[in-house]
């Protein structure tokens, strides 16, 4: 019977049992749920396929109720098709997919919360693009999802994954850390490096305000999914180069919780501060109401 409540726990279990992170996360869930390894693995595959389905059902002409969001994923696709994209083909595709998923969510379509709906674009963008662009096996991508979920579970238990509780660092920050770990795994990183990747990603997102315009999961959420993706990719690359974080993974998560507590409530999904109270925000909300 194994369980873990910190990143160090996971790494210790990996060492003791000579296992990979995804195996420890899978085993702990089997022990908790009483399900077989195959059942748990297939459940995670179901999540991966639901992400694929959501990605494929993107509609370029759809707009959210407020009209603030929609069509940007298609714009990004068109720009990438010109070949002038600054980022690599893989990163450009991931940016496009992150926009699409965020927009689908804002338009009340069906998505997979990962870890939340507001941050639902980051992980699928990184994984689906990897499958498409690097020809990875589906099983490997499901394993990467186990890596991501183990990291997310520890953050959820020791800090928060709710914007209303910890600000946007809890949502895009956590998603980005999970994606960075998953991506490092796919690129062949060892267990320590995977956790380093997650740590870099999380550190870069500490203190991020949750200040959605009109209280809607649209602005700045959708485009911030792109920031989460790019941050995850650069963090994975740092870790793969053998660079290490001075602050340990668990200390980083600990400071995330503290920062979340210290953030004033006007920056925690109440729309009473930050971008939500700007003149631009007020103007667009008045237009929205007068329709």
């Amino acid at each position: 019977m194994i369980e873990y409540h910190s990143i160090q726990n996971i790494l210790d279990l990996c060492k003791e049992q000579d296992k990979k992170i995804w195996e420890v996360v899978l085993q702990a869930d089997m022990d908790e749920s009483g399900a077989s390894g195959e059942q748990v693995f297939e459940k995670m595959r179901f999540m991966y396929r639901a992400m694929q389905e959501a990605d494929q059902s993107y509609e370029a002409n759809l707009k959210s109720q407020s009209g603030m969001v929609g069509g940007d994923g298609e714009k990004m696709r068109q720009y990438n098709a010109t070949g002038k994209n600054l980022c690599s083909e893989y990163s450009s595709l991931a940016m496009e997919k992150a926009l699409k998923m965020g927009e689908s969510n804002a338009c009340m379509k069906r998505i997979v919360a990962a870890p939340t709906a507001g941050s639902c674009g980051v992980i699928p963008a990184v994984l689906l693009s990897y499958e498409e662009n690097k020809n990875a096996e589906e099983d490997e991508l499901v394993k990467a999802l186990f890596v991501a979920s183990g990291i997310g579970k520890v953050v959820a238990e020791n800090a928060s994954i709710a914007g209303a509780f910890g600000g946007c660092q809890a949502e895009i920050g956590t998603a980005s850390a999970m994606a960075a770990g998953a991506l490092a795994y796919l690129q062949g990183a060892d267990n320590e490096q995977i956790m380093q990747a997650a740590t870099f990603a999380l550190k870069n997102m500490l203190g991020l305000a949750c200040d959605p315009v009109g209280g809607l999961v649209e602005v700045p959420c959708v485009k911030r999914n792109v920031a989460g993706v790019v941050n995850a990719i650069s963090s994975a690359q740092l870790a793969l180069a053998g660079i290490t974080s001075v602050i340990t993974p668990d200390d980083t998560i600990d400071s995330m919780r503290r920062i979340g507590n210290d953030l004033p409530s006007c920056l925690k999904e109440t729309s009473k501060g930050g971008l939500a109270v700007t003149e631009s925000a007020k103007r667009i909300m008045e237009q929205f109401k007068s329709h």
Binding site: F46, S66, R110, T116, A148, A162, P212, G215
Partner: protein, 222 residues
């Protein structure tokens, strides 16, 4: 925290805490009431109140009260569906002290006239906590089969419940005991690893000193 709370649920957007979590609060409340809802007064607090409308929290809670799950395509239309069914819904502001930022207070009346008051909190990522039932503090997620027994505060009721569960081969995951005052009314909240058989619940309902038995079975959520 389960890994499928981190990757998942599969849900209709736009917010896991304000949409999916709200659907689950409504759904668990509907299950606990044990019958169709005829009237609902829904009071919102904190961020639920401040931004709930834009996130469809009102539609989500109503969808849950209608028995819908978080991935149901009908969520955006739940209020119209409730009206068609003749379910009365009223929304308002909850007056609570130091509550969780995403809190909903529900006053429900079922088709048989049965009533229930419930306070639910959305913790993020679609996870919830039921913080109060009928004025008594509780603390459970609704993810496991949960047995709630209201009884008189007198010796023996805990052992009656646990013996019944042992007899039926049901393992207890967590157990909480609360009472309003010594010798007054008490509540037991028992989260179980297995489903509690109906005959066990019916037996409990007939035990002297037991006032009310509520049961929440395991829902088949993705």
């Amino acid at each position: 925290m389960n890994i499928f709370d981190v990757i998942g649920p599969v849900m209709v957007g736009p917010s896991s805490s304000h949409t999916a979590g709200a659907v689950r609060i409504g759904y668990v409340a509907r299950q606990l009431l044990g019958e169709e809802v005829r009237e609902a007064k829904i009071l919102l607090y904190g961020s639920f109140l401040a931004t709930g409308k834009g996130h469809g929290t009102d539609k989500a809670l109503t969808a849950g009260l209608l028995g819908m799950q978080t991935d149901d395509y009908r969520i955006p239309k739940s209020i119209e569906i409730a009206e068609d069914k003749g379910m009365k819904i009223a929304f308002g502001e909850a007056v609570l002290k130091e509550a969780h930022p995403n809190t909903a207070q529900l006053y429900l009346k079922g088709i048989s006239g049965k009533t229930m008051e419930l306070v639910g909190q959305s913790l993020g990522g679609g996870r919830i906590n039921i913080a109060e039932i009928d004025g008594i503090e509780t603390n459970f997620s609704g993810e496991n089969p949960t047995l709630i027994v209201h009884n008189l505060d007198q010796p023996g009721h805990v052992s009656e419940v646990t013996s019944m569960l042992a007899h039926k081969g049901v393992n207890i995951a967590t157990m909480q005991l609360y009472r309003s005052s010594k010798g007054g009314k008490a509540v037991m909240v028992v989260e179980c690893d297995q489903e509690v058989p109906q005959e066990g619940i019916r037996w409990l309902e007939r035990v002297e000193g037991v006032l009310k038995v509520t049961y929440l079975g395991k829902s088949e959520e993705k």
